[in-house]
Each structure stands twice: as C-alpha cells, then as structure tokens.
Amino acid sequence: MTVAVASARVFRRNWLVYRRLWHRSIAFGFLQPLMFLTAMGIGIGSLIGAQQQDAFGGFPYLHWIGPGLMAAMAMQTATFESTYPIMNKIMWGRNYEAMLSTPLSVRSLVGGELGWVAFRIGTLAAVFLLVLLVLGIPRSPAAVLAVPVAMLTGVAFSACLIAFTATQKNDVGFSAIFRFVVNPLFLFSGTFFPLTQLPEGLRALAWATPLFHGVELMRGLILGSLNLAAAPIHLAYLLVMAAIGAYFADRLLQRRMAG
C-alpha cells in the first residue's frame, strides 16, 4: 500500500462521516458568505462613495471585499478542521491509535487529513465563488483558479496547525491560536481594507504573514487585476508554507503517537 493509497483510505474515513452531513455543510457554505457579503459589502460598502473607490483599485467595495472574505474562509475552515477534530483523533477518541495499529503510517494520516481539508475547502470555495457570480463580481474566467488557490491556502494553514495540535496536551492552546493568530490575520491581511492604509512597519509585517498572499492571489484572479510580477511570490510563499507545515506535522505527530 503506497502512502497515496493509504492517505486515500484516511480520506475515505472522513468522507464516510461527512456524507451524512454534506447537505448541512453546503447550506452553511452558502449562508456564511451571504451574511458577510451583505453586512460588509452592502452594509458598509454602501457608505463608501464612488469617489473613494480608487483606494480599492477602482472596484466597488462589495466586489473588492468578496475575494478577501473567500480567502479568509479558507483559513478559518482549515483552522477549525485542524484543531479540535485532530485533537479528538489523537487524544479523546483515540482514532489515530486505532489506525496506527494497522499498516497505516503517520505520513498517510497527515496526507489523508490534508487531502480532506483541501476537499472541504474546495467545495466551500466553489460555493463561495457561485455566490460571487450571482452578485456579478468575477471579471475574468481565471476566477475559477481562485478555488485551487483557496485549497492551497487552506492546506498551508492546516499543515502548520496539525503540527501545532500534535504538540498540545489539551485544548487551551487553541484559544490562543484563534485569538492571537487567526483573528489578527483575518483583520490585517488586506481582507477588509488595503494594506496601503497601514503604517510602513505594519505593512511589511502583513507581507510576511500567510493569509495576505492568499488574499492577493484570489482577489487578482477574481477581479482580473492580478499583479503578474508578485503572483509567483505569493504562490511560492503558500507552497513553501504547506511543505514545511506537512514536514513538521509528520514529525511531531510521529513523536506524539509513539509513547
């Protein structure tokens, strides 16, 4: 059994659980972007006059914020999927202990979980894009590429968070992750306002954080405004982050499971 086949078995286990709930998940998938786009895009956006649109690349605020929220959704979904559920499989439900009594390796567990997160975010991103399409936001056929970029963004976050979760003895650390990592990134990654509004130092800091790169790529693809010089950097950032995260997820989970 190759790692790929073994990972597919781990993926299938998650699918067996999910297939009983998929309609609920998809319904939330529609509801979430609708609420955010209505509140932020239309609610706040209507207060932003046409003369201020220059700050948003000349796009109406609703259009500008849509792809940003989609990238943030990828990060948040990855966070939820890679903290409590993974902790449950390590400690509370002991699923991994059972799975590792079979020929499955830790590497295939990590592979299966990352594949699963990619699938989940892929479906949610597709739903999100559909909502954006209904609102007439995408300006380029390249917008469909925002779906794989969302998946990559999610996997990059998920890999790092699985590595983190593997080192935790209880769920206390998760609230720190939500408070001090996920929330700041959500607010300061160019999701709600252009980074040019920030002081120089903070702008550089935002450049160094991961969500920003996902936001830039997805916004560029959906609004047809992709900066072709910067795009490879954004992409490379996310790929490297995913690779490093996966390496440590494998190593740290290995250490955790071998008592």
């Binding site: 086949v5 078995r9 299938r12 067996l16 059972a98 009594s101 079979t102 020929p103 390796s105 008592g259």
Partner: protein, 311 residues
C-alpha cells in the same frame, strides 16, 4: 535462543520513558503458537507497556524481541499487518456505524471491499452484534463495544491477537460472554496474549502465565504449576473479632506452612484445610468465621509480592 516455533520472543525487553521511568525492566518470555499467554499483575506492573512494544506502537528501549519472526524496530508495518490489537481503552470510531467500523478498518489493512464486507458479516455474527450492524457505536453497552473491538481486531485474520485487559469494567454476564468468545477463538487456533489483573480471568483463559510486579516478571508457568509451586493445596481463611485478633500472639504457630495476614482476615496455607480448622478449634481460639478453599493465583501473587492483585 530464538526457537523458530516461538511467535513472540523477548530477551531483556526494557521500556524506559523520556521522564526516566522504567516501566518494563529486562523481561524474558516466549509466546508459542495456538496458546493463550497471560500477563498477570496489578495496575502499573508494566503489562500495558509490554503489550504496546509487542504491538509495535511503542519503541523498545533495550533488549531484543521478535514478533512473528520479525523485528519491531524495522518491520513494524509487516508485523502490524498480521496482528490484532484490542487496547485497554476502547478506540472505536464513534462517528461511524458498527458495520462501518469493521469495513473501514479492513480498508486500512488494504483488504478488498468485497472481502471486507464478507468478513464483517461473519465477525458481527461471531461477536453477536449482527442485529446492531447499522447502529451508531455510542449507544452500545460496554460489553458490546468490547465485542466490537475484538471483531475489529480479527478483521485481518491475525495470527496473533493482543488483548489488554479485555474485560476490565464489564459486568459478570458480559465478562462470561466475552470469555466464551475468546475461548472459541483459541479453539480455532488463534494465539492470544492477554493482560489482566483478574486471577479468575487468567485461570479461565490462559495456558501459560507470567506474573509481573514492578516492571519485572516474578513467576512463570501454567496456572496449575504456579499454584503448585507457590501455594499449598488448600487455604483456610479465618476472621476474628478485633480483640481476639489482637491477643492471638503466636497461638496459631505451627498449624500451617505459612500464614498471611490481611487487614480483614488471616490466610493459613495448608494441605488440608478442614484438619487445620479442627486444630485451631482444639486450641480453643475463638473464630468469628472460617472458610476452606482451594488455593488460587491470588494466593500465588500474595506469596510473591506480599500484595493483593486488585487493590
């Protein structure tokens, strides 16, 4: 020597944890095919650590071991493919149904889907859960979950089944049903390794026992051998009122091979309990109650360690 016939062969097997605690301290044992091999000992004796090393889920700190002729250090996955593991704490997949638990587990072993379905049918019948096949796991009773865990451990038709305290926490009826299933399993030729701190379980199930205490093996043999070697044929249990007991002062000397003092009673080890009781009465000692019984593994353990098994 690594006899080719020995399914698990351990010499100087040691488990030291990162915090310096030595859970298993240089134990030797051999498990032979078709037998039920038991580790008997109180909690914390090192039974579970030993089991986890055999199951290749915990690295060996020192010593040598082969499992089904392979080395756990380098061939863990090949070994796991041929083992069945029933852990001390149930780790069933509570988000799947009873049947899905078996079929999904089979897929982890790379067993084809149609074979998995057939084996799941057979095993659900074997552990008498066929009527619960489509139920979720959570509402099942403790005994049912245990049986499902055993069925799951058999899905890859293992040569060796490892059971860590299979009946701890179950009611007597559930325990007897489980023992009966494990006995059937043994009759089919499976090799079992069982840990327990119940002497009745060890006597019921095990052909060969090692008694563990404080990370070491303190005795080894069949249940009968252990009793013959380390205890007398019969035991006379005597209870006294506190006053009488306080004033005993050596009055029982010479009546038994050995006398063990427990907080609530005295145990007199003797070949003939009834005769010893007559002798006690003849000395005019006032007894509150007396019981003559056959010696058990509990007595062996008490003799070897000065403690009872379940504390």
């Amino acid at each position: 020597m690594s006899g080719p016939e020995s399914l698990v062969h351990a010499r100087g097997l040691t488990k030291r944890y990162a915090n310096g605690f030595t859970a298993v301290d240089g134990v030797d044992f051999d498990v032979f095919p078709g037998k039920a091999f038991g580790f008997l000992g109180p909690n914390g004796a090192g039974k579970t650590s030993t089991m986890r090393m055999i199951a290749c889920s915990s690295p060996i700190s020192d010593g040598t071991m082969t499992v089904i002729g392979m080395d756990p250090r380098t061939q863990a996955r090949q070994i796991k493919a041929r083992l069945g593991v029933v852990p001390q704490i149930d780790n069933l997949d509570t988000e799947l149904t009873v049947r899905e638990n078996l079929e999904m587990y089979a897929r982890y072993f790379d067993i084809p889907g149609d074979v998995a379905r057939r084996r799941a049918d057979e095993l659900l019948e074997f552990v008498q859960l066929d009527e619960r096949a489509t139920d979720q796991v959570e509402p099942l009773s403790g005994g049912m979950k245990r049986r499902l865990t055993i069925a799951r451990a058999l899905i890859n038709e293992p040569e060796l089944v490892i059971l860590d305290e299979p009946t701890t926490g179950l009611d007597p009826q559930a325990r007897h049903l489980l023992w009966e299933r494990l006995y059937q399993l043994k009759r089919r030729g499976a090799t079992l390794i069982i840990t327990t701190h119940y002497m009745d379980e060890a006597e019921q199930l095990c052909d060969h026992l090692v008694v563990m205490d404080k990370a070491r093996i303190v005795a080894e043999g069949s249940p009968r051998q252990l009793i013959d070697e380390h205890a007398t044929r019969e035991v006379l249990e005597l209870r006294f009122t506190d006053n009488v007991r306080a004033a005993l002062n050596g009055q029982l000397d010479g009546l038994a091979d050995r006398i063990e003092e427990l907080p609530d009673r005295l145990l007199l080890y003797t070949a003939d309990g009834e005769r010893t009781l007559e002798q006690v009465n003849a000395r005019g000692i006032v007894i509150e109650s007396a019981l003559v019984r056959r010696a058990t593994l509990e007595d062996v353990f008490l003799r070897l360690t000065g403690r009872t098994l379940v504390e």
